[in-house]
Symmetry: C2
Subunit: 676 residues, 2 copies
């Protein structure tokens, strides 16, 4: 029980405070405490019925919370970071979600000054509440295939927005189903019978006072989902709806109402920038997303007391089973690996934004969506940033998704209870693998970039960045072969990952350029290549972070972080063993040793620090909302309380006999519904 958790904490010297500050910054920690205090004390944010309520009640509560949060922002003068922290603490998607993200961002980034005045101002005041309507029932990843049209009417200088078919219906659109009164609609711009591809239009969709859909507009919620049920993802059909000229967001491209001509985008790379930013954010968050599951499972498995198996030397916690350690501790290492990678990704993004704003006007950007293979040669930095964000988004979100399920299952039966807090978190996070570029599709962008870089290196061009440097290094040393001391030397681990990535790149290049294989026949190789390259980046970022740690990190803590680095790197290496051999980066013997001794030894070394390491992620109990993951280890008391006191089903008495038509003899479940 509880006392075991306390013992755990007393056995390790990890400095939770400095490590937390290293992860989140002192300012971040203080912000969280400040916001938490306000939320915790507001009954609208009381989470007690979250796991019990059905969809409609949950949606109603989420709407109440969204409104309240907006009021708090005004009352306390919260900035954007405060609001984001509040959302993280509340931990459920809400009906203003897309308004506060994509709707506002798109208006800001793609609207002209006049449109800012007309739309953005109203949106910032929550008079216009909006959503971002791109995906259609029949068209997701393939944006060019969108069917919704916006046809320019020369006679009255308006656009007609239309959904010609059922498959043209907008679908999945967050905040649209019940909440939004405006939408940014992506539609094929048609002028004089000619299509110019998808463009964004701001369209009013519901009446500002009755909130009923406007004439010739059909809207609704798309129904329940695996998760995300506090959000009203919606559908939207237009039956030839006219909107004025100002509706088309005109910062980048526009229709000249005098000439009826299409005016091309001057700087599409900025559009491109938004997508990269969104993906970078996903990378940044993935470590923390996974850390919630790891925190819960680690605490629970350290807390759970067991009869000592005869052979285990009198130990008595589930976390002492090596089959539990091998599932949880590498994931614990992964949370740090992803977090440091996320920070590096954001830094790269920042640097490139700075560079770009210096270069503005100098070089043309790439065409949207075409991917870097077709970009101008001057935009190297952007191409690198783009590929990095694609590869890491795919790897990081899958790693978090899969890791969360591993954590849940490691908790045995209780992991299956909603009170574990992992299941709903997993379910809500899942779409991250699909949106902002499906995780499989994105890997093609990475491969395209690596192939292009390899071609450049083969031509003898000087390496201009890390990617071309590792490719050139591989080419130069390929014949000598590699002899990396992955078990003894950390820099060699990074080098072995680089070697494997370069090996796979040139393999793919051979298939593509020499053997002329079809692109589609190479997708599986590309997926592997992207994964390998992204793992290289993660290992490298983790390694580099530990090369220059903050000065206040004590040697003990740093030593454990160092072991986490090795655990992440060696465990991943042995899981992907065959690519490492095939590339001759390591020998069979090294893999065997990594598996049977190095990794097992690291598990043993890290084991005593596990609880303090998860403590340093600093999740308040209120945020986790988990019986299993409670800081104080009052697991069973909490489960019992929730089951017996908070559970509406226990307010019902059934008639169990097959012959009786009565189902419920008594039903007082409604008594537990929260007053909002």
């Amino acid at each position: 029980g509880s006392e075991l958790l306390e013992q755990e904490r007393s056995k390790s010297k990890i400095n939770v405070d400095t490590l937390s500050a290293f992860l989140h910054s002192r300012e971040g920690l203080a912000r969280k405490r400040r916001v938490l205090k306000i939320l915790e004390n507001d009954k609208v944010f009381n989470k007690e019925q979250n796991y019990f309520a059905g969809r409609i009640d949950r949606f109603e509560t989420a709407l109440a919370r969204a409104k309240k949060l907006r009021q708090l922002v005004i009352r306390h003068g919260w900035d954007n970071d405060d609001r984001m922290v509040a959302n993280e603490l509340i931990s459920e998607p809400g009906p203003y979600g897309l308004h506060e993200s994509m709707f506002l961002i798109t208006l800001r980034d793609q609207g002209s000054p006049e449109q800012h005045e007309r739309f953005l101002k109203q949106a910032e005041k929550y008079k216009y509440i909006g959503c971002y309507a791109q995906t259609e029932l029949g068209h997701g990843s393939n944006v060019r295939g969108l069917e919704t049209t916006a046809t320019w009417n020369t006679e009255d200088q308006t656009f007609t927005i239309d959904s010609p078919t059922l498959t043209a219906s907008k679908w999945w659109i967050g905040s649209l189903g019940r909440t939004a009164n405006h939408a940014v609609v992506m539609a094929q711009l048609i002028i004089n019978g000619k299509s110019h591809g998808p463009h964004p239009f701001v369209v009013q969709i519901r009446d500002m006072s009755t909130h009923e859909p406007l004439k010739d507009i059909h809207i609704g919620d798309i129904g329940p989902k695996f998760g995300y049920n506090t959000m009203d993802n919606g559908f939207l059909l237009f039956n030839k709806v006219k909107v004025p000229h100002i509706s088309m967001l005109a910062r980048h491209s526009r229709v000249d109402p005098k000439t009826n001509k299409y005016v091309k985008p001057s700087s599409p790379s900025l559009v491109f920038g938004t997508l990269t930013w969104v993906r970078s954010t996903i990378v940044m968050q993935a470590g923390g997303v996974l850390a919630r599951g790891v925190t819960i499972a680690t605490r629970y498995c350290a807390f759970q007391d067991r009869d000592a198996p005869s052979d285990a030397g009198g130990e008595n916690q589930v976390l002492n089973y090596t089959t539990v350690q091998i599932r949880l501790l590498p994931l614990l290492a992964t949370t740090f690996a992803l977090h440091f990678t996320g920070k590096a990704m954001m830094a790269l993004y920042g640097a490139s934004q700075k560079k770009m704003s210096q270069d503005v006007g100098k070089v043309g950007g790439p065409e949207r969506g075409a991917g870097p293979e077709e970009t101008h040669s001057g935009s190297d930095l952007l191409a690198d940033l783009h590929a990095t964000s694609c590869g890491l988004k795919s790897l990081a979100s899958y790693t978090a998704v899969e890791g969360l399920e591993v954590c849940r299952r490691a908790c045995g039966g209780h992991g299956y209870s909603s009170f574990s807090g992992i299941g709903s978190w997993y379910a809500d996070y899942l779409p991250t693998a699909t949106w902002e570029g499906d995780n499989y599709m994105l890997t093609q962008q990475v491969a395209r970039y690596l192939l292009k870089s390899a071609r450049s290196v083969l031509k003898g061009n000087e390496p201009s960045n890390d990617t071309t440097a590792i490719l050139a290094n591989f080419l130069a040393r390929q014949d000598q072969g590699a002899a990396f001391d992955v078990l003894g030397n950390d820099a060699d681990i990074v080098a072995a990952y680089a070697w494997r990535s370069a090996f796979l790149t040139f393999e793919a290049l051979k298939h593509r350029d020499e053997q002329k294989k079809a692109w589609n026949d190479l997708l599986v190789d590309f997926y592997r290549l992207s994964r390998a390259h992204s793992q290289y980046m993660v290992v490298k970022n983790f390694y580099e972070t530990l090369q220059s740690p903050p000065s206040d990190l004590d040697p003990e803590t740093l030593g454990v972080l160092h072991k986490l680095f090795r655990l992440y790197a060696l465990h991943t290496l042995e899981s992907e063993a065959s690519e490492f051999y095939t590339s001759s980066a390591v020998t069979v013997r090294q893999i065997q040793l990594a598996r049977t001794s190095a990794v097992m030894k690291l598990l043993q070394d890290i084991r005593p620090h596990a609880v303090r390491l998860v403590d340093s992620w600093d999740f308040p109990d209120w945020q986790l909302d988990s019986s299993l993951g409670r800081y104080d280890g009052k697991v069973y008391e909490d489960m019992f309380h929730r089951a017996s006191e908070l559970n509406p089903l226990n307010r019902i008495t059934v008639d169990p006999y097959p012959d009786s038509p009565t189902l419920f003899k008594k039903n007082e479940a409604g008594a537990l519904k929260p007053k909002l």
Copy 2:
């Protein structure tokens, strides 16, 4: 859209009818049709609101269905198989679930004739409605740690059932929360201060007429779960409750009321047999469980029309992307592999039951729960059966669990909609990985058995079954090394799997017997070993099934099944590549070829048959309840219908503005609630 599915079906010559009959038997197919007709026409079984309803409504509906099903059984004189088929078609756990399985089985298998008269008869008439209460809040896998006590009272010849602590509360018990009026309770039998370990007691827990809990008994539902929410898993606490002598199920062991002595079980191997049977059933079902997801994803990905990517030669279905094929087609192969393995497992079970009943009284059985390492030498067959069922249960259920999520994700955004039908199926199936032996724990049993077999072989004993035969073969040929032609010869594939399993067994034996490593330090190796050995069994069973196919299977269909065998075997081989090299079962070159050419070629060959292959699994649309998996491909119409017509959230109008305290301006959601 739809027409693409028709084209798919016309392009392949797979004989769906004979293949279905091969999988399910003609009789099984006819049974399904007959039962389906009755269920489909009964409004209680109407599934329209399943995905929308909250927990309490779902539970109410599930109770109504359970009652109705019981009435149908009587009205139509359905046998047990009919009832099971009905449950499969309804596809949701129901409140009679544990009554109809573990409660009845335990009464039957462990009750004396007198107890059959007293309890079983009432249970069969659904007067007693029961559950099986073993697991406790603090004790699951570790049955010996149960805290509930049943103390024998010499003075009045009763037992006192007691829960001394909170952690002793029964927990997770299916059908207990609201439904059952009786329970089989596993409790530590204490006579004269001495504990004799856990034994089963039949205890009345609720009043037969008011259905309220009896005095000193605290019961309730444990709350919502990741899935299984139509079931009332419950908790149960006893405050010193007296029950009569007849309550202790006395077929195997009992308390002699005259002498107050404990009488030991005469034949515990029968108890053991029930567990093996339950696990075998899980193995038998795993193929079909996975096949539902594969059917839905395959149809949807074949249906989904896309703009042709420039490089793909004008093809236009999502299923043509090789990154989609590599996810779905090996899983399609896996459904068959698991199904044939399940059949073989059931055959093995049947054979051993027959053998045992012949041997009754000749040899003593193993002690329950101790595992085969400690069994009598005469019980080889049982030990083999036990290990096989443990290993395959673990592998098969994990394979199905993980495969279902792969299928769901392969469908992109729409896979996340409840209407995909995969998410809820996955969520409901998940506990199979945890119950009847946690999938990680079970692998220790397999390793124990393999180590024991290896020791016997090392001693020079003649091989007595397949396991010892492959171990002996490895020992004999170990020095020569292996040279399996896995790419050219199917028997060699099976041999390579056997080789790897034997190699890992002797490796583990070395660690254990020579290096004297602690059991706990070897658990990870044991897990891998069990997985390897179980994969060998799956490959072997698939292979052997195709060696003697039914005579009416046409060569075209058989040819495709043969390719599925190779796809399963080679894809698994390359996923587990490193163990295959390390054991020298294959070379690096072979793996590379398997990966880059053999598997890719098989994907291409199987691709045209994918839709007909899933058709042959013969899931009625009514069973799948999936928009994406519809036989007729009316995917979008169905999604639209459900979202706009059946969705209660669309009967609500919100007030979206943050300043307004009104949340719902109009709420007519209740109108859609089904009349039961």
